[in-house]
Symmetry: C2
């Protein structure tokens, strides 16, 4: 007798729940490794990661999974909507993993960790030649994988799709061109403006413990749920959703520039509030995660820029800030404070860039990656082209490759296609903000009054709760009524920076 479809559905759910449990254990292990795991235990911990990851890989590519996918795909109509989405998600993962010959994938995994070490050394010594042979292999493998996976239109599309389902070179070329044409002249105008903000007050000593207390207060006021999270300190800030009841954030304190910690915390808070508010019934389905890198980043950037760098926000929070650093800001008027934290200046390091120049850093990486995978650029030429682009877009040339092409970790493990998500998230955020204004025209007043709840609830209802059950462009369309439209970001940047720099 054939097994009933509902029994198969149930077995599939249990099977996925198990994969999800392994993923949760892995997430906790990774959090621990980054927040103080003792050094001597790390090597053995890697074995544990290896065992659990293999288990996940095996379960996703197993014969059993293949049967589930086959049986359930044909019975779509009689299954719950969630199950159908789970099947789609598993199918995608199954195919992505199954198409690469196992031995090649294994070799690639080993190469990844070697390549990352080589990158670290190369960056430390500012010597691209140390990294070059590894990066060449990483690129070669990735080019091959793209062939295995197949592609539509340009090859780079396949890589983009991994991080931002549905994203293509055609879309990105268009929006990036538009964005660049607005930003580049604006950056020049700003450099020439006679109204440069005062910034000396930013760099005064602000003790770590005081910053920590401030960051805790701000997180709480933004609606980060401490019953479902915690704040720790790390070299690179991050947020990680271990499960929806346990979404942890970290930050980094610089005692002579408080901005890193507070804006880092607000950024990670945006990521975390996303995952804390995914619908409970998606737990253990593999759908309880952000729907894409871009949408995830839209939430962190919405919090960091559209809330955290907003004048009304600081109208409300400036007294709180002064509680923790009374001397530093005693003589700084709110207006000067606001202009100071919104200073914009071309700089070399992406993660330290201000919100205006940031997209240019991303575009440069996008163009290099696209050229690499369309066969128009080779690895050996990367440093030269990198520097040329920095000169062209930002008007500056890095002193060495550590400040240039070696600064990011992403390429060392083959995460090509990832960078555009950062800029996409920014565009999404601006577009979402505009849509939100229709429902919450008093957005600025809410910030000024300190009542973030309506803003958060709006995001929960329109975006967060769906997890991965809706595709990124589906969310964008439903939330804003249109496809990707870069004009909202352009308008935001122009109006904001013209005001800050008093440009007519």
């Amino acid at each position: 007798m054939k097994k009933g479809i509902n029994l198969i559905e149930k077995e599939f759910q249990e099977y996925v729940k198990k994969i999800s449990a392994y993923n949760e254990a892995l997430a906790l292990i990774n959090w621990d490794l980054r927040t103080g795991a003792p050094k001597n235990g790390v090597e053995q911990r890697s074995e544990v990661i290896g065992v659990l990851s293999s288990e996940v890989f095996n379960m996703i590519t197993s014969k059993e999974m293949e049967c589930f996918i086959d049986d359930l795909t044909t019975e779509e109509a009689s299954l719950s909507e969630t199950t159908n989405k789970m099947v789609q998600e598993c199918k995608k993962e199954f195919e992505r993993n199954k198409k690469i010959p196992a031995d090649e994938f294994k070799k690639f995994v080993i190469l990844q960790s070697r390549s990352e070490s080589a990158w670290e050394e190369a960056r430390e010594k500012a010597d691209f030649s140390i990294f070059q042979p590894y990066l060449e292999q990483i690129v070669a493998y990735t080019r091959k994988f793209v062939e295995y996976w197949g592609y539509e239109g340009q090859k780079y599309n396949t890589l983009l799709d991994m991080y931002e389902p549905g994203m293509t070179v055609d879309i990105l070329d268009k929006v990036f061109n538009q964005l660049r044409e607005s930003i580049v002249p604006l950056v020049k105008q700003i450099a020439e403006s006679k109204h440069q903000p005062e910034t000396a007050f930013l760099y005064k000593e602000f003790p770590k413990e005081q910053q920590h207390q401030l960051n805790l207060r701000v997180l709480k006021q933004l609606g980060y749920d401490f019953k479902a999270g915690r704040l720790d300190e790390t070299v690179h800030p991050f947020a990680t959703g271990i499960n929806r009841g346990d979404v942890r954030v970290t930050t980094r304190y610089d005692e002579y520039d408080f901005r890193g910690a507070i804006f880092g915390t607000i950024h990670e808070c945006g990521h975390a509030i996303y995952e804390q508010n995914i619908a409970e019934e998606l737990t253990g389905t593999l759908l309880d995660d952000g729907t894409s890198m871009g949408i995830h980043e839209s939430q962190s950037l919405f919090f960091e820029n559209f809330i955290g760098r907003n004048y009304s926000f600081w109208k409300n929070k400036y007294p709180l800030l002064k509680e923790y650093a009374p001397d530093q800001f005693a003589d700084v008027k709110l207006d000067d404070f606001y202009r100071g934290i919104n200073e914009s200046k071309p700089s070399f390091i992406r993660i330290e860039a201000d919100e205006l120049t940031y997209p240019l850093h991303i575009m440069i990486r996008y163009e290099l990656e696209k050229a690499l995978f369309n066969g128009e650029l080779e690895v050996k030429d990367l440093p030269e082209v990198w520097n040329k682009k920095y000169k062209e877009y930002l008007g500056i040339v890095p002193e060495d490759d550590a400040m240039g092409v070696l600064q990011d970790v992403h390429w060392s493990d083959g995460s090509f296609g990832y960078f555009p998500s950062y800029a996409l998230g920014y565009m999404y955020a601006a577009q979402i903000k505009q849509a939100m204004l229709k429902d919450l025209p008093d957005f600025d007043d809410l910030l000024a009054s300190g009542d973030i709840a309506p803003i958060r609830t709006w995001l929960n209802e329109k975006i967060h709760k769906y997890g991965k059950t809706k595709k990124p462009l589906e969310i964008l369309k439903e939330t804003t009524g249109e496809g990707l439209n870069v004009q909202y970001l352009i308008d935001y940047l122009e109006s904001k920076y013209k005001e800050v720099y008093k440009i007519k």
Copy 2:
């Protein structure tokens, strides 16, 4: 063609390594749950624990494991010593788990967690009747399991053997009687002594952060390796070996009694130094753990009592203590400090008892457990018999059951046979100390000079490095030249407490 034995050995090692990896993930999850995991994530984390524990259970009781055990047991002569020990360990676990019918075991596991909740409520309300029906079931199951497992001599022996392989009622009756006959009169003499130590200085305010810094320094000086560990704060202090390069300790700070934290830390340090020094080649073999609860406790108690409560130790550390609490100890002479921290007084709560009265708390529990499993006592009579014994041994009667029979968690999940390990560890420690004196007659001088290294090295070489490859009584015999001998502990307690209380 039959598989070669060396191939089977290799496969077995890989198989065990995988079990070990799951155990490591579980250990990390448990550490995290006790050191600040967000509350809302706990329920889902239990699912993860369930998945990983089941995996371990399945792997240990699998047909595959059975084949490994069968194949390898017959080929003992051609295998490495470590493999043989691994096989023995796995066989023991296989049999213990396999003999209980799966459905009964599952029911028992569910009962355990319900029973623990009932115990919590009962303790909170000081109402034994809430816990009684659960404890009755737990005892009934355990009695049945003993029948499944089988027993030699008394039934309780089977339970003792789970925590202390080779330990029996015959041995324990003998040593506990001897010990009680010395302690009980000594406790009376102390109560009547006119030379009671001054203790008011113990209870002055000692800020948490200062205590924390002190505890870090002491840990470091005792040889706890911070590259292979970390110190955190928890409600109940513990040590956990996640792997030998990652053995974490925790402590608890009472700002009006510094002793809890410092002696707790030194105690956990003893456990941790044991696991940090297990031979590296035992990693991933399931043998990289303390050989028994008793030997483990012997190491923690050696550090806590024979090092931490030793006069010479404080001769060296008193200035350090004063660095962190200059006012509190300014007018307290070292001798008075030493007598103060060694005050002894009958009390109700085991974990707060001093080192002299502590064994009496254990003996009471031992006698009750023994009677329960020999059919001489029923659960409903526990509170009455408990109070009678406290009156008899310690001369005090608890006001209610929260201060009495309900104080410990152990019985709520059926950990019968565990308590004696605490007292055994104490006896082992005294006996080991005596053996150590033959090699290190300048023991006290070493402590006074702050040079713990020779003491630690001695323990590393005689005990720690072997992990589970030697049985507890084997270690004791090889280290001290004899079986369990309680006289060393009696001599220690008599000479120390007669000196502290100036009894002739």
